[in-house]
């Protein structure tokens, strides 16, 4: 058997109070694509940070091409042939493609030159890009490129270092389907050049498309390493979660009541056109559509975060003027936004403060002082009810996993006495275990009579959870589908039916 | 009709001719740039305007550089571009003197109150009008020598102005040298800068008093700091007659303090005279007349005996 290009043995890494990795082994074969999976916090990123020297391990051994090595920082890693492509790319946007690739090691004129040799840089870049069959102008500014192209540049950069190990951290999280196809083609090319790829992802289907082998980490330990051909989705989930998830979509049919909210002729110039629908008690109303179809904008307009040019909202038959989130909250509407980091959590504050922030007005004494006892009591009730896993209510929310952050935000909106909950991509970026939990919370809320609007790009989620589905295309509702009529093809057809306005 | 038109026309020509003649031959434009407008500089500025009133053909344009060296240079540039006849400069930083002279493009420059290097001025197109800072310190020293006649050792507290400035250094040197020459042995109890600031001096004095260290005299580089020191000492009901506090500048509140017997003495720096002499130097230089390299305006000691004069 051929010697593996990389072996990591007994890797241990602790952070204050946490043992992030305990005796992890990891072996990478030459020229193979190796998927690294696990829930958030399982230790995937930490393991890779050990490998590239961002957080060197406390103990353990790294054997590269048969020789034990110490990698104290990312530069040494690069020089040893290990390149990492981060989830959040950080290119110098204002500079050109070639300047980004050769950043910090620009070819110079003369032997000990002071001036950058732009001509050589241009030629080198051209050759490099041609080699990888990338059709890019070396002189184009990076900010004019899509995220997918930026990723390609990162890959090209890695190759320019003669990297024989390329680590990709959730590379497809911001890509369209077409771009994903292109990325996989690129990975294929890397494999042909005998480059090994470590591929970190959450997405099951991708693994079966690109990976040769898979390693699953759980709670900082190696659970399994196997050829992909010996695994299936269920065995993967079981390995990741540590238990069998019987039901990803615990939908319970419950009686649906009267109409609670009606939206009529909602219009946001250029984004949302003549949208009308109603929402009932106990109903989960799915909203499906392609990215950019205007679903989020529609919800923002309902919630008063975005100005609408016309349209009316009736709640319990009464017309309501909603211009700001304050108005919406008064109408008992809650809005779990799509981008948890940007508009959801307040990263530096505690779990408690994040929970209570939208409903502080209900927790005051003499209309001024906060009633801390009441706040503590309520927050711990909701923590238990939603099964929020946090060391304490005083923990800083940014240290929690995505799923638990999301649960805190759900608690936030429940505390405002919301009857109508708009959930925009409620399970994006959350690992499978937490996903199922969020789904069961949604189901429970609906069965208690709340009305839920669930915007989701994940087809199985929409189909598995919704009582009805609005399909949105280019800012218009193109179909309202009942649960019995739901299937992937029908939804896709309406989501792409530009000229077919049925609503 | 015709004649009257002619007469009107003739009159108009005459008026214009006389007007331009006056304007061309006699109009003098003097530019002034000040380091900032504190109380002293404001009265100096007033004096320049007052002095200019005596000449109906002199226009004074006064600018405030707000302690910004670049702005001062820019103001000189503007004066030079507008072809002013002379520029009065109250320097922010003495290191910029060469730059300012070259940017004036041959227009006479009279420095006032902040003294440039002697080598920079020539007595023809450039001169300095001010008081000898050393003298202010000397006068404090002379007063204190008389006050402490018979003593051999002086335990002193000294509050200095902004560090590194000529007046801080010279005033301090003046008082120390004079006292040493008079035969006193000087013992430092406390010596620090309070940056000309009343409140800073007050806070430092208060903390010093908290230590209970004994001292005989408090010497301040200016009145504002002396007034701050006095506030701090009064709060502890200390006898200001026995421990003299001396300042420099003779500002109105300082004069009140001298009158009340709180401040032992101050030194009058004649802002008005400095302004007046500066303007006279500027006019002379503008007309190409010979001027001196220095226009010295003497300091004057102010004590309870002669306070009524000021």
């Amino acid at each position: 058997m051929e010697q593996p290009i990389l072996e990591m043995k007994n890797i241990v890494r602790t952070f204050p109070g946490v043992k992030a990795l305990s005796n992890v082994d990891f072996t990478l074969k030459k020229g193979s694509v190796h998927a690294l999976m696990g829930e958030n916090g399982a230790g995937k990123s930490t393991l890779m940070k050990c490998l590239v020297g961002i957080n060197p391990p406390d103990s353990g051994q790294i054997i590269l091409k048969g020789k034990p090595v110490v990698i104290p920082n990312p530069l040494i890693a690069l020089k040893s042939g290990i390149a990492m492509i981060y989830q959040e790319l950080n290119p110098v946007l204002e500079r050109s493609v070639m300047e980004n690739i050769w950043l910090g090691r620009e070819p110079m004129r003369g032997k000990r030159g002071v001036f950058v040799d732009h001509k050589a840089m241009y030629e080198n870049t051209k050759t490099l890009l041609a080699d990888l069959k990338l059709d890019l102008d070396p002189k184009q500014k990076v900010k004019e490129l899509s995220v997918a192209k930026m990723q390609m540049i990162e890959i090209a950069k890695a190759i320019s270092f003669n990297a024989d190990i390329v680590i990709m951290d959730e590379p497809t999280s911001a890509l369209t389907n077409n771009e994903v196809d292109h990325l996989f083609l690129m990975i294929e090319r890397l494999r042909k050049r005998n480059v090994s790829v470590i591929y970190i992802t959450h997405k099951m289907d991708e693994i079966f498309r690109v990976a040769d082998e898979v390693t699953v980490l759980r709670d900082g330990a190696n659970v399994i390493t196997k050829p992909v051909s010996e695994m299936n989705i269920n065995s993967l989930i079981t390995a990741m979660v540590g238990r069998e998830l019987t039901d990803m979509f615990p939908k319970v049919d419950c009686p649906i009541g009267d109409v609670r909210m009606e939206v009529k002729h909602l219009e946001v110039p250029g984004l949302v056109h003549d949208v009308s629908f109603d929402l009932r008690r106990g109903e989960i109303l799915g909203v499906s559509g392609l990215v950019g179809a205007g679903r989020t904008e529609m919800m923002e307009a309902i919630f008063g975060l975005r100005q609408k040019s016309s349209g009316e909202i009736y709640i319990e038959g009464q017309k309501k003027n909603i211009h700001t989130p304050v108005d919406a909250i008064k109408c008992h509407i809650g809005f779990l936004t799509e981008d948890r980091r940007q508009t959801g959590i307040i990263p530096v504050l505690t779990v408690k403060n994040n929970t209570i922030i939208a409903s502080l007005g209900n927790y005051t004494k003499a209309k001024f002082f906060l009633d801390r006892r009441k706040i503590n009591k309520t927050c711990s009730e909701y923590k238990d009810m939603l099964n929020i896993r946090t060391p304490s209510l005083e923990a800083i929310i940014q240290n929690l996993s995505g799923g638990n952050q999301q649960k805190v935000l759900v608690a936030r909106w429940l505390l405002t006495n919301s009857d109508i909950l708009i959930l925009d991509e409620p399970t994006r970026g959350i690992d499978v275990g937490a996903k199922a939990e969020i789904h069961s919370i949604i189901t429970k809320l609906a069965s208690e009579g709340k009305s839920i609007i669930m915007v989701s790009s994940e087809m199985p989620e929409v189909i598995g959870m919704s009582d009805r589905v609005l399909v949105v295309c280019q800012g218009r509702i193109t179909a309202v589908l009942d649960r019995k009529d739901l299937d992937q093809e029908t939804i896709m057809r309406y989501a792409t039916s530009i000229n077919n306005h049925t609503a | 009709m015709r004649t009257s038109k002619k007469i009107v026309l003739a009159l108009m020509v005459l008026v214009v001719a006389v007007g331009t003649a006056f304007g061309q031959t006699k109009q003098f434009k003097i530019g002034v740039t000040l380091y900032d407008r504190d109380q002293f500089i404001s009265s100096l500025e007033q004096a320049i305007f007052e002095a200019a009133k005596a000449y109906p053909n002199v226009v004074v344009d006064s600018q405030d550089a707000k302690q910004d060296v670049n702005q001062q240079i820019a103001q000189v540039d503007v004066f030079a571009t507008k072809k002013y006849d002379a520029i009065i400069v109250n320097l922010i930083n003495t290191d910029t003197v060469e730059t300012i002279i070259s940017r004036a493009k041959g227009i006479p420059v009279i420095f006032v109150n902040r003294r440039p290097r002697d080598s920079a001025i020539d007595g023809i197109k450039t001169a300095y009008v001010g008081s000898q800072e050393f003298d202010a310190g000397r006068m404090q020293g002379e007063y204190l020598s008389k006050f402490f006649k018979g003593k051999t050792e002086l335990r002193y507290v000294l509050f200095m102005g902004q560090l590194g400035l000529e007046n801080t250094l010279e005033r301090t040197r003046g008082v120390k040298e004079t006292l040493t020459k008079a035969g006193f042995k000087l013992t430092k109890v406390y010596e620090d800068t309070a940056e000309w600031d009343r409140f800073k001096a007050m806070n430092q004095m208060q903390q010093l008093l908290g230590t209970g260290k004994p001292f005989d005299v408090v010497i301040c580089n200016n009145d504002e700091m002396a007034l701050g020191v006095i506030e701090a000492m009064k709060a502890l009901k200390m006898d200001l007659k026995k421990i003299p506090v001396v300042g420099i500048d003779a500002t109105p509140p300082a004069k009140e303090a001298v009158k009340a017997g709180d401040m032992a003495m101050t030194v009058f720096q004649n802002a008005k005279a400095q302004g007046k002499v500066a303007l006279e130097f500027a006019l002379k230089a503008a007309q190409g007349q010979k001027i001196e390299k220095f226009g010295w305006v003497p300091f004057e000691p102010v004590t309870l005996e002669n306070i009524s004069k000021y």
Binding site: P16, I329, Q342, G344 | S42, E231, P252
Partner: protein, 327 residues
């Protein structure tokens, strides 16, 4: 191993207080005058003005803003109040025809005028969207200009005894200014920890989009934040003027830097959302004790500056370690 870790984390978390204690211990050994009641009270008196200022500015910093106008507000309030309470016997009064104004009324006028600057700051930031740095830089220059216009750059001395008493008097052994400082610290603490307003400040600083989505009236809160900052500055202006017994148009020049430094040393984050009143107090005391210590030790004024700079940097580096280990 585990114990060491816990101890290490504890020290890290409260690093700024440890630094303060170390400084106090060191100075007690170096100077016999340091650890006396009178000296410590003097430190508090001296720092009260800057301290009140820092507490106010910290609110702006915690909301991810900055308030550069506080120094000018001190100056403006100083000359406004002083010009109303000059001795009628003094001939060179700013307003020779000013009738007798009770000290309390003069103070009230000053506080209102100063707070108004803050309302303007907050409104500019909230409703025009210009960055706080620019808005408060603008009002800083304007307020300074107005102070100079009022006084023509002359000091406003010879203030009435009833007014000076406010800054110079004591209640029992404790000077008035220290009592006001303590009161403002307590108010700031209560506002931050026990009111909706305080939580809103943290939320706006921590993530303004999330705050808005959560139904927080961001604009109104921003106006309140800057009004509070300016109110604190106004109060400091009144106290300092009463102590110095003179209104000075340049009194507060540079104070904003000191106040921002104190708040920052005390762990207030310029990235928003982080800061505590005890931390800020520690920051103020570190600066104050440093100044006092250098004074007591009689260190050359030139060398003092170097020592100050070094200690400030060392203090913050130590304090930053608590954040560095996370993530």
């Amino acid at each position: 191993m585990r114990n060491e870790n816990v101890l290490g984390r504890f020290v890290n978390k409260y690093a700024i207080f440890f630094i303060l204690i170390v400084m106090i211990l060191a100075l007690s050994l170096l100077s016999p005058y340091f650890l006396t009641g009178q000296n410590l009270i003097n430190v508090l008196i001296t720092e009260s003005g800057r301290g009140i200022l820092a507490l106010g500015v910290a609110f702006a910093i915690m909301s991810k803003g900055i308030d550069l106008s506080v120094g000018s507000v001190v100056s403006l309030v100083s000359v406004i109040v002083a010009s109303m309470v000059q001795e009628s016997s003094y001939t060179a009064r700013i307003f020779p025809n000013m009738p007798y104004v009770p000290a309390l009324v003069a103070i009230l006028v000053g506080l209102v005028a100063g707070t108004l600057v803050g309302v303007i700051n907050g409104s500019l930031i909230a409703y025009t969207g210009i960055p706080p740095f620019i808005a408060t830089l603008g009002t800083q220059i304007i307020a300074r200009g107005i102070a100079l216009i009022i006084t023509n750059a002359y000091p406003v001395p010879m203030l009435r005894q009833d007014f000076k008493q406010i800054g110079q008097g004591n209640i029992g052994p404790i000077p008035n200014v220290v009592i006001v400082f303590a009161a403002i610290a307590l108010i700031a603490y209560i506002l931050l920890n026990h009111t909706k307003f305080g939580k809103n400040v943290y939320a706006i600083g921590g993530n303004v989009n999330a705050a808005r989505t959560s139904g927080i009236k961001v604009e109104k809160n921003v106006v309140a934040i800057y009004a509070f900052s300016a109110f604190c500055a106004s109060l400091a202006g009144v106290l300092i003027t009463a102590r110095a017994a003179s209104g000075i148009a340049t009194l507060g020049n540079g104070y904003e830097t000191d106040a921002i430094a104190a708040a920052t040393i005390g762990g207030t984050s310029h990235a928003g959302g982080i800061g505590t009143v005890p931390g800020i107090l520690a920051g103020i005391l570190i600066l104050g004790i440093l100044n006092n210590g250098l004074l007591l030790l009689g260190i050359s004024p030139y060398l003092q500056q170097v020592i100050k700079g070094v200690i400030i940097i060392v203090a913050v580096v130590f304090d930053m370690r608590k954040n560095a280990k996370r993530r």
